[in-house]
């Protein structure tokens, strides 16, 4: 299993039965494939659809039926389509239960940077900021380290923040952190094969440790 899939598999159980979820581009999109059997999570995509189904194959691919990553998807029974303004009205208005987003950095208060890189022109933002202010709950799904091997969980983001609002949960291939206003990040789960020492060394943000720290299979 790839690292991306490992992360997606660790996020999936966090989505409750009947919830409406918006899955961001990249690793978050993979979460749909790892939902526990029988768990009915309804997927919203901000380009204007509720009731997104699995990736189609062959002749079932419809160029007019894509997700926010512009990848082909299918339509489940009970789906609906709507305009961009209606889709973001839904998102901003608090009608989406949970958003799963990627991140470039997470600060120790649980705020994220996921849209812009210092030194490069600001030419893209998409729907991430809307989801961060509007979704009732936000889960970050990210690799623990950047491609260059730097920690993504940092004291303060050096990249521009995507919102003032903190996220609720941060899931990497090595660990899961709950986030609250008092303690910031709290380690609640450590992956099998990851030592606490390794984690401390590769996490630049301060974090608390839950009394009931769990071990989880990768």
């Amino acid at each position: 299993m790839s690292v991306a899939e490992t992360i997606a598999r660790r996020v999936a159980p966090q989505l409750a039965d009947g919830e409406v979820a918006n899955l961001g581009i990249g690793i978050p999109t993979l979460v749909a494939d790892h939902l526990p059997p029988g768990r009915a999570v309804v997927l919203q995509t901000e380009n204007g659809m509720l009731g997104v189904g699995p990736t189609p194959t062959g002749a079932a691919v419809d160029p007019n039926l894509v997700n926010a990553g512009k990848l082909p998807v299918s339509e489940l029974a009970g789906a609906s389509y709507f305009s961009s303004s209606a889709s973001f009205a839904m998102i901003r208005g608090g009608h989406v239960d949970v958003a799963v987003l990627g991140a470039l950095q997470v600060d120790e208060r649980g705020r994220i940077a996921n849209w812009s890189v210092p030194g490069r022109p600001i030419l893209g933002v998409g729907g991430a900021m809307d989801l961060l202010v509007g979704a009732r709950r936000v889960i970050v799904a990210t690799t623990h380290l950047t491609k260059a091997g730097e920690p993504k969980l940092v004291r303060a983001c050096s990249f521009p923040l995507s919102a003032e609002r903190r996220v609720d949960l941060v899931v990497t291939e090595h660990a899961t952190f709950a986030v609250d206003d008092v303690d910031g990040l709290t380690l609640i789960e450590l992956a099998d094969g990851t030592s606490f020492e390794w984690l401390c060394e590769h996490t630049a943000a301060d974090f608390a440790v839950a009394r009931a720290l769990r071990r989880a299979g990768a």
Binding site: S85, S87, A89, V125, G127
Partner: protein, 224 residues
């Protein structure tokens, strides 16, 4: 048998309605729901230069709006995600393309507001970020909001699946996206459609864009 409509124009006649220096909205999310016949026809309009384009993206390199960009016809782009076209990044770096970047939801809402006679609105999105720089901040019920003005255009180019002869529009799946919003927010609205059906063939409860918004219809894929 396809229906005849007094609103029908050829793609080139429609493209000729875009004058130098004007503001054009172009529907679509990436290339999905993009009025590509109309965008391609713009290349044949020698007056379509110095345009301000309001569109979520700027196409792909050499395709859709990307082709207009390559020819240096776009002066300014207003949208949410231009990084998907490296030509846009390069044009901006060269000082040839001005960019106004908005969160996607704020963009869509500003277009809707433009069509709905709303002057401006307050939204929480982007508060505390670099996209809030220079923007008016106001607390509403104790929560900081940013002021966003409505967006309007001279011409909107939208893509629908079917029109009836009056100009009522319905859309196909996620090809709907920005199209209904833009169809409300421009002085002249041109819809590219796959098919024009008889009046009465669309159920009144299913019409997404009522005909009073639509000035002209162009058949998709017919270049002349």
């Amino acid at each position: 048998m396809p229906a005849r409509s007094s609103k029908t124009l050829t793609a080139s006649a429609a493209a000729a309605l875009v004058a130098r220096g004007t503001t054009v909205m172009v529907g679509g999310f990436g290339l999905v729901g993009k009025p590509l016949t109309l965008v391609d026809a713009l290349l044949g309009n020698d007056d379509a230069h110095e345009l301000t384009v309001i569109s979520n993206n700027l196409g792909e390199p050499g395709r859709g709006l990307g082709a207009l960009l390559c020819e240096g016809r776009i002066r300014k782009a207003v949208g949410s995600f231009f990084t998907s076209n490296p030509d846009a990044v390069a044009a901006h770096a060269a000082g040839e393309l001005e960019v106004e970047l908005l969160p996607q939801g704020t963009l869509a809402e500003a277009i809707r507001a433009g069509g709905a006679g709303i002057g401006a609105f307050y939204v929480r999105t982007a508060v505390g970020t670099r996209l809030a720089d220079g923007r008016e901040l106001r607390e509403i019920d104790g929560v900081p909001h940013l002021l966003q003005h409505a967006l309007r255009a001279d011409v909107a180019l939208v893509r629908a699946a079917r029109a009836d002869a009056l100009g009522n529009l319905v859309y196909d799946k996620t090809a709907r996206n920005f199209n209904p919003d833009m169809a409300s927010a421009a002085r002249t609205v041109i819809a590219e459609v796959d098919e024009i059906v008889e009046v009465g063939a669309l159920a009144p409860g299913e019409v997404v864009t009522p005909h009073l918004f639509v000035d002209h219809l162009v058949l998709a894929g017919v270049a002349a």
